[in-house]
Structure formats: C-alpha cells, structure tokens
C-alpha cells in the first residue's frame, strides 16, 4: 500500500462530522430520478406522466448514447416530470407503492462475471442503469466500453469532507464489492483503490479481503482522496490521462445488481449541518430532500458537497452521484467594520485572522465574505491547488481566448475541487471558469 502525499489542500478542522451509527429511513411517498447531477448528459425522456413503472425500468436515456439508461428507483406512477432552464430534463418523480415490483435479470455469479463476454457485460450494466457509475477522465463523462483505460481508480470516499464512510457502505456488501472489482478487472488490469487515512481502520474491521486490495491511502486533507487529485499524484505518462474512475457505492451497486439480478435501490447518505451530529442513513435511491432533513433553517443553503456539489432546492431529490447533504448556514450577515475585526471566529486558510493561530473547529457559512474584484496576482489560488495548477494564469489565458496556453498550463488536470475559488481574496469564480472551459473543450473535441 502506498501513502499518497498531497502538498496542499484544505486542512481546517470542521465540526459537523456525522455519527458512525446508521439508521434506516422508511420509504417516502415519492422518489425521484435526477438528471441534474449527471455530467454532460443530454437527457431524453422515455416515459409519460401517469405511466406506471417498475423498479429498475428505464425513465430516461442519454441522447448521445441511448443504450445508457437511467432507471426508476421505485415502483409506481410517474407523478411529475420536472424541467429546468431551457427545458432541460431535471427530475422524474415517482409516486411510490409500498411493494416493489422489480425488472428481473438473470443473476450472475463471480465466475459468470469473469466468463461473460465483455459486450454482454456492458450491455447488461447499461440496461441495469449502472454503467454510468464508471467515469472517464478528464471530463468525467461516462466511460466508453470499447476503450481500455490505463488505470481505473476506485475512490472509497466521496466528494465531501463528510461523505459516507466506506465501512458503512461495505457492511453486508463485501461479496458485492468483490463482484464489482471483478467487473473492473475485465476492463483494466491496473486498479488503484484509494481510501482516506481515517477510513482505513474501519475497512480493516469490516473485511480483510477488501482492505488488502487497497493500493493507496490519501491523507485527510481535502481533496487528497478525490479521483482527480489521486490521478494527478500517481500518473506518470500522458496515456493515463484517460483513466477511468468509480466511486465505492457505485461499484457495490454494480456488484449487487449482477449478483441479484435486481436494481439495487439502497444507498447510504450523510447529512451534515450545524447542531447535532446526525447518523449515517440507509435510504432509497432518489430520496426527496424533505424526507432526509427535517426543518431547514431559513436562509441557509443545502448542497451536495460544500466544495463541489450542487444546490438542492427544497423539493429536490438526491441524484445517483450524490450521497451527502450539507446544510450550510448563512452566517451573521453584514458585519460592521468586518474587515478590521480580529476574527477569532473566522476560519481562513490565510494567516490574516487570529483564527489561524488556533485549530478550533471552523464554522463555515455560505456567504462570499466580500465582493468580486480584479485579480491582484496574489497566488493564493496557486498555493492551494492540489494539482499544481496556476488557476489565475489559466483564467487569464482563457480570458484572452488562448486555449492552447490554458491547456499547456494544465487546464485539463483540474479536478474541480473548488479550493481556488475558496481562497481567492478577490472572490473570482475560478473553479467555475476553469470547469466551464474544460467542459467546452471536451464538447468540442467529442
């Protein structure tokens, strides 16, 4: 096992860590299948409002590849179809029935996975609505089955500081994990399994066989365990730029799906917020936010990852790629002479507030703490970037329409961790600028 070192990142002490116990939430009256969190997709609806669907039945697909399906997490009638701006499909909401009727497939055992023709395996996973868990760098679009990636990174931990712990996801799922790994081995013989230092012990306890397959541990400094940051740390040649990655929960889902022949509807979700520590929750795919969190304090923001998720509206449903919900308060509002306060209670990665002298739990809020200004060339963004980028210079190259320069400076190595925007004193939306440019370039190339 190798220990990854990450020279920079976010290492403030944030309270709000979820409890390690796990509770089970009941089936809510509606579940959703969300398209809002799926990168690059051009969704095409396959059902109508009022139509009855079974669990595992396709609800929408991707116009770019109609063999990839996004399936229903529940049995029941399609209640509403929600569109976002420019009539982009956002969610398909199902009114749930208490008994599930599954779309059934033939179960495949471990030997079957090893022996099955690769096309058949891919077709099966696509139909089952699970292929999209495998993502391809650098744009993190769906993996293309006829590529053979140089490496597949298995990320045991999620996108947020407090995504579900791998040991809780793995509980009762060891066989599914093994099956998932067997699937991956069909596509690449180089699997890099990465977990956070703090998750390692739990994994050892839950299953030796899993722990023995871990190839890298990453320090508990955000975003050291992100697939993008990991890839940057371990890649040695350009061929690895198009590696694939998959998150533990999707890997387990794939395994469960093949072993049981049914769409796995369960997922583990964490909820973080000010106040009491909440347990991990074993819930259905596509849970409505309202069923997950009780009362949301007014004026706060609900997101699926404080650095790199999306904002959840009150009536939103959790997407396939999301397994954490952060409730972030709005903070104290406009403070008089805010810039001149000693700032014991102001968490910062700089050294300009007294808080930087003490490692007290940082209280984060969802405000900008300033206004947008021109870049002052301070290099704070460079100092924090885990992938050795110079976001300010990339941004300037992009503004000058010099894509070549931006690429040469490593634009496509950005893992969208959000830290550059986090630190920028001029409050420039660097991550968004870089991320949009990456997507545009990827789309052009496609």
């Amino acid at each position: 096992m190798k220990i990854l070192k990450i020279p920079r990142g976010f290492d403030l002490n944030v309270a709000e860590q979820p409890d390690l116990s796990c509770t089970h939430l009941a089936l809510p009256s509606s579940l959703g299948c969300c398209a809002g969190d799926i990168p690059h997709i051009r969704p095409k609806l396959l059902v109508k409002e009022g139509q009855r669907v079974n669990t595992g039945e396709a609800l929408f697909t991707d116009k770019r590849d109609t063999t990839i399906q996004y399936v229903s997490p529940a049995t029941g009638q399609v209640k509403t179809v929600i569109y976002g701006p420019r009539r982009r499909l956002m969610e398909v909401v199902i009114a749930t029935e208490s008994e599930d009727e599954y779309v059934e497939y033939d179960p495949v055992d471990l030997n079957g996975i090893v022996g099955m023709p690769r096309d058949e395996l891919v077709a099966c996973l696509k139909k089952g609505g699970l292929w999209q868990g495998l993502l391809r760098f650098p744009a993190l679009d769906c993996a293309e089955p006829d590529h053979s990636p140089a490496m597949i990174i298995v990320a045991m931990d999620g996108n947020d500081l407090f995504s579900p712990r791998p040991d809780i996801i793995l509980k009762d799922n060891i066989a599914a994990f093994e099956a998932g790994m067997a699937i991956l081995r069909r596509f690449s013989n180089r699997l890099s399994v990465v977990c956070r230092e703090s998750s390692l012990e739990g994994i050892w306890e839950i299953g030796r066989s899993v722990a023995e397959q871990i190839t890298h541990t990453a320090p508990d400094i955000y975003p050291a365990w992100h697939p993008g940051a990991v890839l940057y740390q371990i890649k040695q040649q350009a061929a690895e730029n198009n590696s694939w990655c998959i998150r533990l929960d999707h890997l387990v889902m794939m395994g469960r799906f093949l072993l049981s022949g049914r769409y796995p509807v369960e997922k583990i979700v964490t909820i973080t917020g000010p106040g009491e520590r909440q347990p991990h929750m074993r819930v259905r795919q596509g849970m409505p936010l309202s069923a997950l969190v009780g009362k949301i304090p007014g004026n706060s923001l609900v997101t699926t990852g404080r650095f790199n998720g999306r904002i959840l509206e009150k009536d939103a449903h959790i997407g396939l790629f999301e397994n954490t919900v952060n409730i972030i308060e709005a903070g104290p509002g406009e403070e008089m002479f805010g810039f001149a306060r000693p700032g014991l209670d102001k968490p910062t990665l700089s050294s300009t507030f007294l808080s930087s002298l003490f490692r007290r739990p940082a209280k984060m809020d969802c405000t900008l703490h300033g206004e947008e200004r021109a870049c002052i060339n301070c290099s704070y963004c460079e100092r924090i970037c885990p992938n050795d980028l110079m976001p300010a210079f990339i941004m300037k190259a992009l503004h000058a329409d010099d894509l070549e320069d931006a690429l040469a400076l490593g634009l496509m190595d950005c893992c969208r961790c959000g830290l550059c925007s986090f630190v920028c004193p001029s409050k420039i939306e660097l991550t968004q600028i870089l991320s949009d440019a990456m997507d545009a370039y990827y789309k052009d190339k496609e």
Binding site: L301, R310, E334, T352, N377, S379, G410, F422, V423
Partner: protein, 387 residues
C-alpha cells in the same frame, strides 16, 4: 435595535440601485457602505463555502504594516524640525509638529486620489477596488515632509491616472501607482525631491538644510563611514531612523517590523523581500570588495546601505505590491534579487540618483510580465501533457 448607520444605508439603497435617481453614483455608495459593512451575499456556485479573507482585509493588513513607519515618520518629522530649530522638543511636541506637516500630505493624497478613483468608477461603472487604500498612504510616505501640497496632489493624480487607470484599473496596472507618482515628482520637481531635504524646521527657523545620508561623500581621503559619522549618520541612527529623509523611509527598524507583519500574515510574498535583501546585500559586498572608491558609497558595506535611504521601505512595501510584481514564485525570487542588485548599482554608479530603489522597482515592474512568461513556459514544459 437596528444600527442607525445600517438604517441609513438601507434607506438610501433605492436611490442608488436599480432605477434609483442617483444610479450613476452607485460605486460611491457601494464603496462607502461596504467600508462600514462587510458585504455578505450568498454563494451561488460551487464551492459554497468561502474563505473569510477578502481584499478589504488584505489591504487592511498592509495598512497595519504601514502604521509603524507612519507613526515613526510623523514623530521623526517633528524631531528633525526640533533639531532644525536648535531646540530639544518633548515627544508630544515632536508628534504634534510632525503631524502638522505630515497629516495634510496624507489627507491630500487620499482625497485627491479617491476623487480620481470615484470618477473612474462612475465612468467605467465598476466597483471601487480597495487597492487605493494602500496607494493613498504609501505615496505620502515616500515624500519629504516639506513638499508643497499642490505637488502631492499632482503626484497622486499622475500615479492614479497614468500609473493605474490608463491600464484599466487595479489588477491591470504594470507599474506600482504610488511609485509612479513619486517618480513623476522626482523628475518634474527635482528641487523639492532632491537629496538635500529641507527639513521641516525651515519654516520655523530659515535656512537649515539637512543632506540625506545617501548624498554624503567622504571629502579628501576620508572614508565614507567616517564621513557619515561626522555628518551625524551613525549606523545606529540610520537603523532607528532619527535622520532627515522622506517621511516613511528613514527607519530601517520600522520597515523591518512592517515587513515582518506582511510576511507572517503572508500578505506580501516573502520571496520578494528575502530575495531582494539577499540580492542587495550580496551586491553591496561585491562592490565593497572592488578596490577603490574609499570615499564613496561603494565602500559603505551592506549595513550602511541597508539602513540608509529607502531600500527597505521599497522592498517591503513597494516591490511586494502583488499586482505589479510577478505572479510566479521563481519570478518573484528573480524580481526581488534584481531590485536589490539594481538599487546598489544605481546608488554607486550614478550619484545623481541617490534613490536607486525607486527606479529599480519601476524598472523591474516593467519586466515582471516577461519573468512570468518565462516561468510559465518552463513550468508548462514540465507537466505531463493533458490535451
């Protein structure tokens, strides 16, 4: 209870925003409001949490670092005036007299400079950047206390308009605006800026001049250090700063305190300061080792060079202005070291410009983008390509 000031801003908001009557003057309203109340809008795009550091805080720290030199400068102006008057004044008296000279300069600099900032903000319809908070204080500190106020106004106008706004405002300027203003005055009105500073006391008792340390030379085979000592510039005095000179630059000690604040808070990049001092010291040692020039500054050695003149002030507060310095770390080392080197070379090579540091920094400001460009080229070539 609602803060009355807050109420005022809430009440006036409709006038200045949206379709308000004074919509044109929104930047002014905004700048005033955000000075009192830290703006706190919600984040709309990821990441949803943000650091507390913003430009207001950033610039406030620079102001904080400038306070020691400012207060010492005020005191020293009074102190020098006392010497000029041939009397020994109490600390309070020195302060009051010093403030009498220095505060109007600072005020003129801020008022005139902000007037320009407001004008450009209104015309260009953007918010006012905090950068001027620093420029407005830096500029007066580089001036001799006896400078006529109309020259202050002229200098800061030149600095803001030509040094900054013609490039497109804060963030786009190539030169340090405060230094640009000073250089303008230096070349346009050499008499008021020359090495022979008329100390503030001349208004009280006429005809007293004090040559600044850098214009001293040893006459008739006297070594430079002895000549300096005779002229009242012992190393200790130069270090603490009880010598005539521009308001902020005389005290090496206070400049070092400021530099320490800037480096500890990481507001200034330590590479520039350390690189600058290193380049400077090495060059002074080299010129010291070159034979000859017993009586000139080339033979003064690193300590006298460091403590006399404005090098420490310049490298701590002027060269570290991030906008006009390089944005890459290797670039910053080179930038700092080159300023140190050039300062010494100008000092020894051309006694007509005693203040080498000003030209050195402006010169390197011009080269900063080139340094960045080279570093970026090199760095790009080291990356595993990903296209």
């Amino acid at each position: 209870m609602k803060n009355p000031l807050k109420k005022f801003f809430d009440d006036t908001k409709p006038l200045f925003t949206g379709d308000g009557k004074y919509k044109k003057y929104e930047p002014i309203w905004d700048a005033t409001k955000t000075f009192f109340f830290l703006p706190s809008v919600k984040t709309l795009v990821m990441p949803f949490v943000r650091d507390h550091l913003d430009l207001k805080r950033y610039m406030s720290i620079v102001i904080l670092a400038l306070l020691p030199v400012t207060f010492f400068g005020i005191y020293n102006t009074g102190y020098q005036a006392g010497i000029g008057a041939g009397e020994s004044w109490s600390v309070t008296r020195c302060f009051l007299i010093g403030a009498w000279y220095v505060l109007p300069i600072i005020m003129v600099s801020y008022v005139v400079g902000f007037a320009w900032e407001f004008l450009f903000a209104v015309v260009r319809r953007h918010n006012i950047s905090e950068g001027f908070l620093v420029t407005g204080l830096l500029f007066p500190l580089t001036l001799p206390p006896t400078i006529p106020l109309w020259q202050v106004a002229l200098g800061i106008s030149f600095g803001v308009v030509i040094g900054k706004e013609v490039f497109g405002g804060t963030g786009r300027n190539i030169l340090n605006p405060a230094l640009t203003g000073r250089a303008f005055l230096f070349f346009s009105y050499p008499v008021s800026m020359s090495g022979d500073v008329w100390v503030a006391g001349k208004h009280l008792m006429d005809g007293v001049t004090g040559a600044t340390a850098l214009s001293v030379t040893g006459a008739g085979g006297q070594s430079i250090t002895a000549a300096l000592y005779d002229a009242g510039y012992s190393l200790g005095r130069l270090f603490t700063g009880f010598v005539p000179g521009s308001v902020g630059e005389t005290s090496a000690l206070c400049c070092l305190i400021g530099a320490a604040i800037l480096m500890v808070t990481r507001i200034a990049n330590y590479r520039i300061i350390i690189g600058g001092i290193a380049g400077f010291v090495i060059t002074t040692i080299i010129v010291y080792l070159i034979p000859g020039g017993q009586d000139s500054w080339s033979n003064a050695g690193p300590f006298y060079h460091l403590c006399a003149g404005g090098f420490l002030f310049g490298i701590s507060f002027m060269a570290t202005d991030p906008v006009s310095a390089p944005g890459t770390n290797p670039g910053r080392w080179i930038f700092g070291a080159a300023i140190g080197f050039l300062t010494v070379i100008i000092r020894v090579g051309n006694p007509a410009f005693m203040e080498g540091v000003m030209l050195a920094i402006l010169f390197m400001n011009v080269f900063a983008p080139l340094l960045d460009h080279l570093v970026l080229k090199y760095k790009s070539s080291k990356r595993i390509p990903n296209v």
